[in-house]
């Protein structure tokens, strides 16, 4: 079967690049799976987990938002921030989660509710990806760049 040429880049570096079978991405309008021969597409992303599968092996990547482009079996993600599962700083994510929850509970006047909610969501996704990787040591994507 044809493969997808997958690439994820941020303003600072190329995070991952490989030939893969399927890309599952957190699109702004919902989770979407991309197989080879997909129609040209340009979508915004929401914070979430992006999964690529290659020969049965899955790699999870955290993205905080950005864009995904599909064109002629090439999938390019322009991410604001992207981290592979093994790169996630669990302690920092825990801390961010705690802080966001506190803010949402106390609701100080000058606080930006939407920002706190977004921060909470980002930390939860990060933790989820990191957790899953811990349960299945050895997998979770050590290949790539």
């Amino acid at each position: 079967m044809a493969k997808l040429r997958f690439e994820i880049v941020t303003a600072e570096r190329a995070v991952y690049s490989d030939e893969v079978d399927i890309v599952i991405a957190p699109g702004i309008e919902g989770q979407l799976g991309i197989l080879p021969s997909h129609a040209p597409l340009l979508t915004m992303l929401q914070p979430g987990e992006l999964v690529v599968r290659k020969e049965g092996e899955e790699t999870a990547i955290f993205v905080s938002g950005g864009f995904l482009e599909v064109m002629q079996n090439r999938v390019t993600v322009l991410a604001d921030v992207a981290e592979r599962a093994e790169e996630i700083d669990i302690a920092r994510a825990e801390e961010a989660k705690r802080r966001a929850e506190e803010q949402l509970k106390e609701r100080p006047l000058e606080m930006d509710l939407a920002a706190a909610e977004a921060a909470l969501r980002r930390s939860l996704v990060r933790l989820k990806i990191a957790e899953r990787r811990k349960k299945r040591p050895g997998s979770g994507g050590a290949q790539g760049l």
Partner: protein, 285 residues
């Protein structure tokens, strides 16, 4: 004629200067390499973004309302983001980039607002009495995109509020290790590149072309700014490396000269002493 002891002291002092400049050269060389790598690493993202933007802009039909960051309007006030190093000792780099921006300001018929990055540029602007909207110093040698966001925020907000009608970037472009060029180009309003012929792709846009564009444009500005800062850092470090190498070479040359003078003076003294001894001996006979 300086005494032998004075010359020896000079040599020692020049030697320690040479040691310092040599160390600075090596530090700058390694920072330069890293800055270059980062500039290269940022390139794929910038390329892709330019391409997507061109595709999106080509989608527009005339008559539709365009996004504020793309609108050209009559110019009543411009802003310049002036990027300079925090530190000196990098040859003519600071003077060159400041001169370039100064002559650009003089050409303008409309008032100019300055947003300045780096201490050297800040000092220059304050000295020449320019109106400074904001200053950002101590970004360091390895700024991340997050450090750049507040700077982009200021100009985007001022631009959308109509306080300024054009935004320019002034910085030093890294050409080669030996040559860095001050450049100045317009950041806002954004001019999308023309799409390559035969690349007219009919995308499915989610949620919609307009919304994707509205998300993309501010990021494009941030990216342009970030890239300029990386170029400026690579330039600064390579200019410093070359300046420090010259300083080291000059110091070594000076040491050679001084050593020669020292040896001459020493020999002269010995000769004089010998003459005194022989003269004294002759007087005794």
């Amino acid at each position: 004629m300086p005494t032998i002891r004075e010359i020896r002291r000079r040599v020692r002092s020049v030697q320690s200067t040479a040691k310092i400049t040599r160390a600075m050269e090596m530090v700058a060389a390694s920072k330069m390499r890293r800055a270059q790598e980062r500039t290269l690493a940022a390139r794929p993202y910038a390329e892709k973004m330019r391409q997507v933007l061109a595709d999106l802009a080509a989608q527009r039909r005339s008559g539709e309302e365009i996004h504020p960051l793309l609108v050209k309007r009559s110019v009543n006030r411009i802003a310049i983001i002036h990027i300079t190093p925090d530190r000196g000792l990098c040859g003519g780099l600071v003077a060159n980039v400041n001169r370039s921006v100064a002559s650009f300001i003089l050409e303008q018929r409309v008032p100019v607002t300055i947003v300045v990055i780096g201490r050297k540029g800040r000092d220059f602007m304050v000295r020449s009495g320019q109106e400074v909207r904001a200053e950002f110093t101590r970004l360091g040698d390895r700024p991340s995109i997050v450090d750049v966001l507040p700077i982009a925020r200021i100009v985007i907000d001022d631009y959308t509020d109509g306080l300024i009608d054009e935004v320019y970037l002034s910085y030093t472009q890294f050409v080669t290790t030996m040559s860095q060029r001050p450049v100045l180009w317009r950041l806002l309003p954004i001019e999308p590149a023309a799409i390559e012929p035969g690349r007219n792709v009919d995308y499915i846009y989610e949620p919609s072309p307009d919304e994707v564009l509205a998300e993309l444009l501010p990021r494009f500005v941030e990216m342009g700014l970030y890239h300029a800062i990386l170029e400026a850092i690579a330039s600064e470090q390579s200019a410093r490396m070359v300046a420090m190498r010259n300083a080291t070479d000059n110091a070594n040359e000076l040491i050679e000269d001084l050593t020669l003078t020292y040896n001459k003076a020493r020999q002269e003294m010995i000769t004089k002493e010998l003459l005194d001894i022989t003269g004294g001996a002759a007087a005794l006979v």
